[in-house]
């Protein structure tokens, strides 16, 4: 009986920590809580109450999160450029990609920028995560932001994966065939997941359109919303370093 009660208490405290990490305090019933509510609210008080110089030391953060965000902006802008010429259908995609590379003025430059920024973003996001982990910056009270960060990592990787299909060359088609077959190996939901990803039984027109929509709208939108929360939390919690 005691063991069960202890287990329940443990479960409560874990849940309380989780909830407490998302919602910082209860209703602002006293002046003190009301002041804290205002100071930790994005709308009421956008800047952190204090920032120590040591917190934003370059040698501590290496600016990896900022670099990731900068690359996200580069990718958004260059991606917008590419969308002017690219049609996501199996009839046009490959030729459009070739045109961008060889016919459009500065098309090759923009496409290569998009490609290299994508590779770089995957690298900086991983390094950012490694830095946060190694400096213990994921600990209380930043657990929730670490959670958002892991989802942002996943979105970065999914953006990379969906973008890989769009040139519609042999490498794209078979890479996505292989990738979605890996998803198929997941227990129970695997084959159905693959069917939803492909919009059919093999990589084809439906797949290209799906991946395009997720690549240019779905994933960036989710990623952007999560980034807003992520950065806001960073500002409110302060940086973890140099205490």
């Amino acid at each position: 009986m005691r063991v069960i009660r202890a287990a329940i208490d443990e479960a409560y405290s874990v849940m309380a920590q989780m909830v407490g990490s998302v919602f910082r305090h209860g209703l602002p019933l006293t002046d003190k809580i009301a002041a804290r509510t205002a100071l930790t609210n994005f709308v009421l008080h956008i800047h952190p109450v204090r920032v120590r110089r040591s917190w934003i030391r370059m040698s501590y953060t290496l600016c990896l999160g900022g670099l990731s965000f900068f690359l996200f902006i580069v990718l958004t802008v260059t991606g917008l450029y590419l969308m002017f010429y690219y049609v996501p259908s199996t009839q046009h995609a490959y030729q459009d990609m070739r045109d961008l590379q060889f016919v459009v003025t500065f098309g090759g430059f923009i496409r290569n920028m998009h490609r290299w920024a994508a590779h770089a973003m995957v690298i900086t996001v991983w390094l950012h995560m490694a830095r946060v982990f190694l400096t213990g910056a994921y600990k209380k009270p930043r657990e929730f932001n670490w959670g958002i960060g892991t989802v942002l990592l996943l979105i970065t990787l999914l953006l990379s994966f969906t973008g890989y299909l769009l040139p519609w060359d042999q490498l794209s088609i078979w890479a996505v065939t292989v990738g979605t077959n890996m998803a198929k190996y997941a227990p129970i939901a695997g084959p159905y997941t693959r069917y939803l990803m492909l919009g059919g039984r093999a990589v084809g027109d439906a797949t290209l359109l799906r991946f395009y929509v997720m690549h240019v709208v779905g994933l960036p939108l989710i990623g952007f919303l999560l980034m807003v929360i992520h950065f806001w939390r960073v500002r409110k919690d302060g940086f973890s370093g140099g205490l």
Binding site: Y12, Q17, G20, T177, V178, G199, G200, R201, R210
Partner: protein, 190 residues
């Protein structure tokens, strides 16, 4: 917030009318959201696809000499004809789904490198130093190899490629249905 939750779970008699209504509201919202999520998944699941149908007609049996291997690359199907009859292979690598390619010789480089190659379990064929070259399939993605009859012998492929149904259509042509996987020993006698 957390303590409110804890109190609520520990003793439901402390629940007020207001918090009961709030909970009912949130429960309704949750249920509605779950239904919307479910419907969204159903929405992106295509009810009809306009892909190439799994069944198709090939040529008349006389177009395939005994002992021949014919790759129909657009359909990702291979038609083999043996003295015993016809069988068709679904040309999809059992590792991760790429399309293996047919070669007259898929064994001699392995024999030369000293790699042990098992005997083909179905035909009993074996690549040896004296006779190193056997025809078969190589997958370009991760290097799986198959004998001519689709039995895997090298690389990451976990099992032979599927054999699919072949029959004779009314007009005398071969009719192949890729959606029906048949036994390894299935042969269409003509």
């Amino acid at each position: 917030m957390a303590s409110d939750f804890r109190r609520l779970v520990q003793d439901s008699r402390e629940m007020t009318r207001r918090s009961f209504l709030a909970m009912a509201g949130w429960a309704g919202f949750t249920v509605a959201s779950l239904i919307a999520l479910f419907q969204s998944v159903k929405f992106i699941q295509p009810n009809a696809t306009y892909e190439d149908p799994p069944a198709f007609k090939a040529d008349a049996p006389s177009a395939y000499p005994v002992g021949s291997t014919t790759v129909i690359i657009d359909k990702r199907v291979v038609i083999n004809r043996d003295p015993n009859g016809f069988y068709a292979i679904s040309l999809i690598c059992t590792h991760l789904g790429c399309t293996p390619r047919y070669f007259q010789d898929v064994t001699s480089d392995l024999i030369a490198a000293g790699t042990a190659i098992s005997k083909d379990p179905d035909t009993g064929q074996e690549a040896t130093k004296a006779n190193p070259a056997l025809p078969g399939f190589k997958c370009p993605c991760h290097g799986s190899r198959y004998f001519r009859d689709a039995d895997n012998f090298f690389g990451p492929a976990p099992r032979p490629m599927d054999r699919v149904h072949v029959e004779l259509a009314k007009d005398g042509k071969l009719f192949i249905d890729r959606s029906i996987v048949v036994d390894h020993h299935y042969r269409l006698k003509v």
